[in-house]
């Protein structure tokens, strides 16, 4: 077993375990912290694929910014395990049904990906994830979608400011 394989299995186990703990934790703050652990292990996978830029951006954006805001909201609303309202039975039922539907889609996806068997991911080499190649691809081949995304971001920002300004 090479170091890469050991790291891969370790990170996968960590990601799955943390993801399960996100769902199982009673306390929302603990859920958020487990979710941060999931992001870390996924960033580890990115590094194994030599996509260093994606790995660190995943950390900065998700773990560093979005999850901080999540924590912020949860802490301000003081959602503790005790104060969490008990959910209705039909709410739980709806959750089970929608979760089951999602699971079905996932299973069918995995089954359709039969042509991916016997193929290895490029571990440690392949340099499309490095910042130079990624930037070139974004600004030449994909420049229109990229710019459209930035306009989308701008409108979201303006929208947030408008909502925030409303008295």
């Amino acid at each position: 077993m090479s170091t890469t394989e050991i790291l891969f299995f370790f990170l996968s186990a960590l990601a799955l375990f943390s993801a399960i703990m996100v769902v199982l934790s009673k306390n929302p703050v603990h859920s958020v912290l487990w979710l941060i652990a999931v992001f870390f292990s996924i960033s580890g996978h990115y590094i194994l694929l030599n996509a260093q830029f994606l790995a660190i951006v995943n950390l900065i954006v998700y773990a560093g910014a979005i999850m901080v805001l999540f924590l912020f909201v949860i802490m301000l609303m003081n959602l503790n395990a005790e104060s969490e309202p008990q959910k209705h039975l039909w709410m739980k039922l709806a959750g089970v049904v929608s979760g089951g539907c999602f699971f079905l889609v996932l299973v069918s996806l995995v089954r359709q990906a039969a042509d991916m068997t016997d193929k290895m991911a490029l571990m440690g080499d392949g340099n499309i994830g490095l910042i130079k190649n990624l930037g070139k691809a974004l600004f030449t081949d994909f420049v229109v979608p990229f710019e459209i995304t930035s306009v989308l971001f701008l409108s979201a920002m303006v929208g947030a400011v408008v909502i925030g300004k409303k008295e």
């Binding site: 077993m1 170091t3 703050v29 260093q52 830029f53 560093g64 901080v68 805001l69 924590l71 912020f72």
Partner: protein, 350 residues
């Protein structure tokens, strides 16, 4: 087939390097607390700590011993695991930055060329940025786990302050990246060391100013120490902490200060470059040692400026802090980025 195919020599070399750098940073941080008290004393025209050892030099050890010997109190209503995790996270995030800082060029020992940098990764400065953005978790988790309203308020303040100033910091960084064209700190330092090349601060004076102010805010130093404003929040996010866990929080502030000084020196002041000296004319080992000394000198100067400001300027009000961050620094940083971009385009004759 071997179970693990690892370059053991490289592993040992890196482990030794990590140990040296971490312990050196902790040692410097120890004496930074002493320097802080001495600088404060000089600025306020009083002798400062002078009882423990000659010139009071043993004072930090006395302080550390005091913190360790104190009783450990964990509030009964606190979330125990997170309460312990908080200071640990704060310290880890503070120390993790040192991995990408180029402390000097390379030394040659036992026929091996050893780079005095733990990891020269291709996204160096982004890594620093990522670690800095994680540092806020130490404050938030500690403040929340204490189950104390004042701690929680202080933690939320700290988090919103850190996020606000990270933005301006990132934008001012982009202007530097446009000049250097690389994210690796080592490459950036090498570029500034090249003969005929000035330090980045000459091209980016405004960018440096913005970065410096933001670094001060990220370290929670006065005038930006709103998370521990004692006249509003008793003591801040570490109010419920005692003993060495409190020590970790206080200590991580000093480690953060050293690391941000090292980053500023590398980004804007040539890193381990010695002005008016071509290092390539020296033997590599001597050049490396001189380089470390040069970087440490720059760090000490930055730390002194940090302290000087702390004991000169009073604390901001919270709305002033937010206004400075969002309405002054971010527009200034954007302007700086625009001017830099236009200038680079003009130089290329586009």
């Amino acid at each position: 087939m071997t179970l693990l195919s690892i370059d053991w020599l490289l592993l040992i070399e890196k482990l030794i390097l990590i140990a040296i750098i971490v312990f050196a940073s902790l040692g410097i941080a120890l004496y930074t607390t002493f320097a802080e008290r001495k600088v404060a004393a000089i600025l306020q025209d009083r002798p400062g700590p002078n009882r423990a050892g000659p010139f009071g030099l043993l004072q930090p050890f006395a302080d550390g011993l005091k913190l360790i010997m104190k009783e450990e109190i964990i509030p009964s209503s606190a979330s125990k695991f997170l309460f312990i995790l908080g200071p640990g996270l704060a310290m880890t995030a503070a120390l993790m930055t040192c991995a990408v800082i180029p402390w000097s060029s390379h030394v040659e020992l036992f026929d091996r060329k050893i780079d005095l940098q733990i990891a020269d990764i291709n996204i160096g400065i982004l890594y620093v940025f990522g670690v800095v953005s994680l540092g806020v978790y130490g404050i938030m988790i500690g403040g929340w786990a204490s189950n104390n309203k004042f701690s929680l308020m202080a933690a939320l303040r700290g988090a919103s302050q850190a996020i606000s100033y990270e933005l301006a910091m990132g934008i001012s960084l982009i202007a530097v990246l446009m000049i250097s064209g690389s994210l690796s700190l080592k490459t950036m330092v090498d570029q500034q060391m090249a003969p005929g090349q000035l330090w980045n601060v000459a091209y980016q004076p405004l960018g440096f100013l913005i970065f410096f102010i933001c670094a001060m805010a990220e370290c929670n130093r006065t005038p930006f120490d709103l998370p521990e404003a004692e006249n509003e929040l008793n003591f801040g996010y570490h109010q419920e902490y005692s003993s060495m866990k409190l020590g970790f929080y206080l200590f991580s502030e000093y480690v953060n200060m050293i690391m941000s000084s090292a980053i500023m020196a590398s980004l804007f002041f040539g890193g381990f470059d010695i002005p008016f000296l071509d290092e390539r004319t020296l033997a590599p080992n001597i050049a490396a040692i001189l380089g470390v000394a040069a970087l440490l000198t720059k760090i000490v100067i930055f730390i002194f400026v940090f302290m000087w400001i702390r004991w000169t300027i009073p604390r901001f009000r919270y709305d002033q802090l937010m206004n400075l961050g969002w309405k002054t620094l971010i527009p200034l940083a954007l302007f700086n980025m625009l001017v830099t971009g236009a200038f680079i385009l003009w130089r290329q004759g586009g």
